[in-house]
Amino acid sequence: MNQAVKTKACPLSLKDLPNGALARIVQMPEKDGCADRLEALGLRAGKVVEKISGMPFHGPVTLQLDGRQIAIGWKISSSIMVAPIKNRGGEDD
């Protein structure tokens, strides 16, 4: 599937990614305890994620990664930078 996607420019933070959008992670938060935890869950630069939802009032962001859902706090999600990718085969345009 990866051949069918192309990376757009302009990274944005995960919290600003629209729901349902695919994106490639370009930058993770600075190394600390929470970065270790994210990485242990498989979330790291280069991975493609789909944003499922973001809860209102600075609630957590839920994303899909390798067939698994992970929820992360709003603050962390604002320090994860992603580059949206467009799936040419997809129905949304």
């Binding site: 939802s53 600075h58 390798d66 859902q69 929820a71 706090g73």
Partner: protein
């Protein structure tokens, strides 16, 4: 007793990979099997005997990494550091890449390893095909496909235990490890596209900002209705008739054997009302002492935990954590804290024990204090409805609303006063799964057993203690001392001081006494609020002490008294203005 010839086998894996189910399959000893990350923080041990070989099987707490990021991972790291004769690394076939990270770390420790590639059925459904023979070749240790829930592959896993092998694996940096994993995945895993099922759509909707909230409200409302329906059904349909038919004659015989009065009679049977025992108000050991925990409270605790276990094993609770995160974040907690808080609605004791899953001391203090102050347990709720319910649902709503308000405001205050910060939520959300009934039943049984072992003896102890205080005149003395506080601040008659003081140990008893004081509706509501928020029952008190330590528990008690008075005064004046 460890046999010298007994070998040690570790079960290692990420949370939610079916490790507990595999443990049960291997040892035959039933273990807690659950969907929620964090419930296996302790560890289980069992025995496996096969072909003249005896193994001590240890279920290592679920861990994502051996560079610990929480307490469970610290424990896992230490257990692996202690060494073993073999380790079964359980891999979730639906998320192989991430699972291999831990697997590689275990390999790098030089431990004899074999792999259980678990949930291969679910992976197939998800369109994930894994060439396990090639995986075995690449990893250099046996790989056995399993479905722990159904038992598939377990016997070949046991057969191959002796093949567990140390793999000559270099210590890698993070990047090297991920790169190595990437190349393995590329060779062994093939993912085919698959359409979203109804369950997938439900999973997505459950964390949606709009639908998730609706589903959350619906789930909570349905749960409460089910708990009430089942609890009332058990009490009215089963327990009350049984008590009247079989226990009342026994009690009456005991009463006449004890001469119908006197100190021993008062302690064992209690007071007699109109020539008969009143199970709710006699206050004797074998009347109220048994009736309240077993007949009035246990049915609610039972139905509460049945519903909670169902939600837990279905995989709903992490979604609830997502929904509540934004709110709890403003109270110095993160979404995870919703689970101990919900548990507290059944009984505060397991609720406070469950705050152990929270990361920092600050969170545990806030969560435990909030539970003991503002979360009414099943017993207390029965009392609230008993005391105020006759006045109408409006008044019950006032009490519940006050408790909810107190929970929110106190959380907010504690968050701004205590140094530190709200931790961020990072949680894996497991897929929805049909719960295994046997595992659920077992967990329910263990929780009910816990309630009997921890709470019931303390209630009985409380009755003796209260009777002693009463007999020695200490209650009367303290009541006189504190009466001005109650009348001045809360607008209650001086006699209300005694029941509220009694509430330190026996809220249920106190509620009964309040009801007989002839208070006005507003006074009754104020007293109920004060009582509900002050001292938790003695069991909660002891657990709070154990979990927080003396100093923090003292602080927690101080906060409790101040908030109860503040809430009582607030409700008093709000009611005075609105009526």
């Amino acid at each position: 007793m460890t046999d010298r010839a007994e070998k040690k086998l570790l079960l290692v894996g990420n949370p939610n990979v079916g490790k507990s189910a595999l443990f049960t399959r291997l040892t035959g000893v039933h273990a807690l099997s659950s969907n929620y990350p964090g419930t296996t923080v302790g560890f289980l041990e069992g025995r496996l005997v096969r072909g003249g070989e005896a193994w001590r099987v240890i279920d290592v707490p679920g861990a994502y990494t051996l560079s610990p990021t929480n307490e469970a991972e610290e424990v896992a790291d230490r257990m692996i550091g202690e060494g073993a004769d073999a380790a079964v690394v359980v891999l979730d076939a639906t998320a192989l890449e991430r699972n291999l990270y831990l697997a590689f770390q275990v390999l790098e420790r030089g431990m004899p390893v074999l792999f259980a590639l678990n949930m291969v059925d679910e992976a197939r459904h998800k369109g994930v095909e894994i060439d396990f023979r090639l995986l075995e070749e690449l990893l250099g240790a046996p790989v056995v496909p399993t479905v722990a829930v159904s038992g598939e592959g377990i016997s070949s896993l046991i057969d191959r235990l002796s093949e567990a092998s140390v793999v000559n694996s270099p210590a890698r940096t993070r990047e090297e490890r991920w790169a190595a994993i990437g190349s393995v995945i590329e060779k062994v895993q093939r993912v085919t596209h698959r359409h979203h099922t109804l369950l997938d759509k439900l999973e997505d909707a459950s964390v949606d900002s709009f639908w998730g909230l609706l589903i959350g409200i619906a789930v909570i409302a349905a749960s409460l209705a089910a708990i009430r329906f089942a609890g009332e059904g058990i009490i009215d349909g089963i327990l009350d008739p049984l008590v009247e038919r079989f226990w009342r004659p026994v009690v009456e015989q005991a009463s006449s054997a004890l001469g119908g009065g006197g100190v021993a009679h008062d302690i064992i049977v209690g007071r007699i009302f109109d020539g008969a025992v009143d199970f709710e108000q006699s206050f004797g050991l074998i009347t109220t002492g048994l009736y309240v925990p077993i007949v009035m409270v246990l049915p609610y605790v039972l139905s509460f935990y049945a519903v909670l276990s169902l939600l837990e094993d279905f995989g709903y609770l992490p979604r609830l954590a997502v929904i509540f995160d934004a709110l709890l974040h403003r109270m110095g907690l993160h979404g995870f804290a919703i689970v101990p808080s919900l548990l507290g609605l059944g009984c505060n004791v397991p609720g406070i024990l469950a705050t152990r899953v929270l990361d920092s001391k600050r969170e545990r203090f806030i969560a435990a204090t909030l539970i003991s102050v503002a979360i009414p347990c099943a017993g207390l709720q029965a009392m609230i409805i008993g005391a105020v319910g006759d006045l109408g649902m409006k008044w019950v709503a006032v009490v519940y609303g006050t408790l909810l308000g107190a929970w929110l405001i106190l959380g907010r205050i504690l968050h701004s006063l205590l140094p530190g910060f709200s931790p961020e939520l990072i949680v894996e959300i497991p897929p929805y799964r049909m719960p295994a009934l046997s595992a659920m039943g077992l967990k329910l049984w263990m929780r009910i057993k816990g309630f009997f072992m921890e709470a019931v003896p303390l209630v009985l102890f409380g009755i003796i203690f209260v009777s002693a205080l009463d007999a020695l005149g200490i209650t009367a003395f303290l009541s006189r001392l504190l009466a001005p506080v109650f009348s001045g601040l809360l607008g209650l008659p001086a006699e209300a001081a005694a029941p509220i003081l009694l509430g330190i140990l026996r809220k249920d008893v106190a509620m009964g006494m309040l009801a007989s004081l002839g208070l006005s509706p507003s006074q009754l509501v104020v007293a109920t609020v004060a009582l509900a928020m002050t001292f938790p029952c003695i069991a909660t008190f002891i657990v709070l002490w154990r979990e927080l330590g003396g100093r923090r528990m003292a602080a927690s008690l101080g906060i409790m008294i101040v908030s109860a008075l503040a809430a009582g005064v607030t409700v008093r004046f709000l009611l005075a203005f609105s009526l």
